[in-house]
Amino acid sequence: MGRVQELIDMTELPMIGKLNKPLKEIVKIDNILTGGHRLCAGCGAGTMARQVTLAAKAMDQPFMITNATGCLEVATTIYPFTAWKVPFMHNAFENASATASGTIAAFEAMKRKGIYDGEQPKMIVFGGDGGTYDIGLQSLSGAVERGHDFVYVCYNNGAYMNTGIQRSGGTPMSAATTTSPAGTKIPGKIKWAKPLAEIMAAHDIPVFTASPFYYRDLMTKTQEALKYEGPAFILIDSPCNLGHKHAPGESLEITKLAVQTCFFPLYSTYLDNWKLTGESLKIAKGQSEKLPVTDYFKTQGRFKHLFEPQWADKLVEIQKTIDEKWERLKKKAGF
């Protein structure tokens, strides 16, 4: 439990400047997810995966990846090629956590029996919002309850992008998808996204939210999650220019706006110890301005319909709810 203590004793999360090595050193490391993968130009999954794996590689310990079916998996492992420079396992859509738990258990047992003499590898599991909020939630919750040593990274782009932009449990309120279209009667999705980070926090494990725009925060949180002996969860806001409908070059700017509008706040939490981090901490302290959610919405085609006069009230209602959610989070974080 020594490492747990180290984590909860941290007084100022995020640990800006507390990466185990200077970024100037870390950027010298060859990419774990190499060029030649077939993710779309502008896709956030590749960016987020590179940040996570660079942070992991900088820790100088062996690690492996298990990936749920989804964009990141299909676009990086088209046989007979692979874009991954670490051991990589894909099983199916809903079972990445269960698969990883088997792999972790196998090395533990084989080491105990003297069949495997290498170091126990760390395990990073990647899943999209469909594979995590929806179809893979049971597998994730079960693996977390059993306490396997893995870091689950959910890259949330707010819909089933791999299959053509269908709504998921992670799709935001009112976002237009192909199964929650912006209709004349119903303006996109009619429910708020499932509070996944809170659900995972209720398992009494370290939980982090992160954005690839704030890469130092994301990589620091990755290292904190990996240092923890046991399950940890990271929810990453991941842009999808095809699904969110914006130009490929705008992806990271838009994830920045998600944080600046408190649509996607950055925080760490463990055993009810909630800490805002980075830009979100600055907003809470009044050091940065909290932008209106319309600044985020107007950058993306998936929210375009909300700016029609017919849905003006909806936009007001959404802003009100985001404000309420932000205030609740601030309160939990001691503001």
Binding site: Y79, P80, W84, T99, G142
Partner: protein, 395 residues
């Protein structure tokens, strides 16, 4: 060399658990379901009493049991799990991943009827309908066979020429919960038969950047599937070899088919699993009355030993297939369909008559089996070549 047996009294489930304990697998991910529960309960005892070195992963569903088995087996670990009925149905998606990734996971199935209506008793439909999942599929008749097949299953699946998962079924309650004498092997015999470390070249290893579970499109998918079929064809030979080798150390004769009074028989029962015992008893009764009848037990359902079955049944007039499984709107019972395909247009092939019976644990009495025998004789006299019907139910 035949090892001296250590005689124990065990139920079928206990025999499976005891064999698994002796094999000492690296990982056992498992989820409880009646009538498989005794297997995981006993194995949990062995884990918590330190009698095995296994990592026991008590997953939250059978889907996760098979998923964790895949994740574990890919590392080269030896993996065992067990399930039944709805649990096997829930695993179904990942059965194909296990075989497609060529992972020799061993799965004990406590054969049980599928819902609805919900029922916990014996029926083999659960296992038979996985026939196209590229798993080697065996059935056992007794607790003794449950014990022996557990040990053989690892050796068959892990053979470098095979590298396919293996499931073997024992019928719910009839075998899983019935107490029998079981002759077990000493641990030493099992260590010699099945060395603790699997012989395997391609594994998920932290020191090598290998990718498992790739997306394979039109350009390679069919080649990979074809390799599975070739492995299945080799599994036919490997299973025979492994059974012969096991026969030598156990003194119990194991073959992919078991013949009973077939040589001079004009008619035969074809069975698998526990029904084989009943069929043999009925053969004895009919033989006492002077009838020329025998029985054939199919121990290996996949790969389906069509030619061996043809050789065993060649020259018989007609056979009754006693199929404890349900299929609807089908030209035959499940096993009858395979038999028909294997014997079609072959010289001297008998006519085939399938009987769906014993669903949900319903018992088919000896008298009813004798009636089936009379019926099949009549079908033959009438020139019928193929019938399928349900027996032993109230209309």
């Amino acid at each position: 060399m035949i090892y001296e047996a250590i005689i124990m009294g065990m139920t079928g489930d206990e025999a499976v658990a005891w064999a698994a304990k002796q094999v000492n697998p690296d990982v056992v991910p498992a989820y409880p379901i009646t009538p498989q529960t005794i297997i995981v309960e006993r194995f949990s005892d062995y884990v918590n009493d330190g009698l095995v070195d296994t990592a026991f992963v008590p997953v939250e569903s059978e889907h996760s049991a098979m998923s964790a088995s895949v994740g574990a087996s890919a590392t080269g670990a030896r993996v065992f799990t067990a399930t039944a009925s709805a649990g096997l149905a829930l695993m179904n998606e990942i059965l194909y991943v296990a075989s497609g990734l060529r992972l020799p996971i061993v799965l004990a199935v406590a054969n049980r009827a599928l819902s609805a209506p919900i029922n916990i008793h014996a029926e083999c439909t659960d296992q038979l309908v996985t026939r196209d999942a590229s798993w080697i599929s065996l059935f056992g008749e007794t607790a003794q066979e449950a014990y022996d097949e557990t040990i053989m299953a690892f050796k068959i699946g892990e053979h470098p020429d095979v590298m396919l998962p293996v499931m073997y079924g024992i019928e719910g309650f009839i075998v899983t919960h019935a107490l029998e004498r079981v002759d077990t092997l000493p641990d030493e015999a099992i260590r010699n038969f099945l060395p603790p470390k699997r012989e395997i070249s391609h594994v998920l290893d932290p020191s090598e950047a290998k990718t498992f579970g790739s997306l394979v499109l039109q350009d390679y998918y069919m080649e990979i599937k074809r390799q599975q079929e070739e492995a299945m064809e080799r599994a036919y030979h490997v299973t025979k070899e492994v059974m012969a080798e096991y026969s030598e150390i156990s003194g119990r004769k194991y073959e992919i088919l078991e013949e009973y009074h077939l040589d001079d028989a004009e008619y035969a029962f074809v069975t698998y699993g526990a029904t084989a015992g009943n069929a043999k008893a009925v053969v004895d009764l009919l033989r006492a009355k002077g009838e020329k009848v025998g029985a054939l037990k199919i121990r290996m359902f996949r790969p389906f030993p069509g030619n061996d079955i043809y050789e065993a049944l060649k020259g018989k007039k007609a056979v009754a297939i006693l199929d404890r499984s349900a299929t609807f709107g089908s030209p035959g019972t499940i096993v009858q369909n395979d038999l028909a395909s294997a014997l079609y247009m072959k010289q001297g092939a008998p006519s085939l008559h399938g009987f769906i019976n014993g669903l949900g644990g319903r018992v088919l009495m000896h008298e009813e089996k004798e009636q089936i025998y009379d019926q099949v004789k009549q079908y033959h006299a009438d020139g019928k070549t193929h019938t399928q019907e349900w027996v032993g139910y109230r209309s």
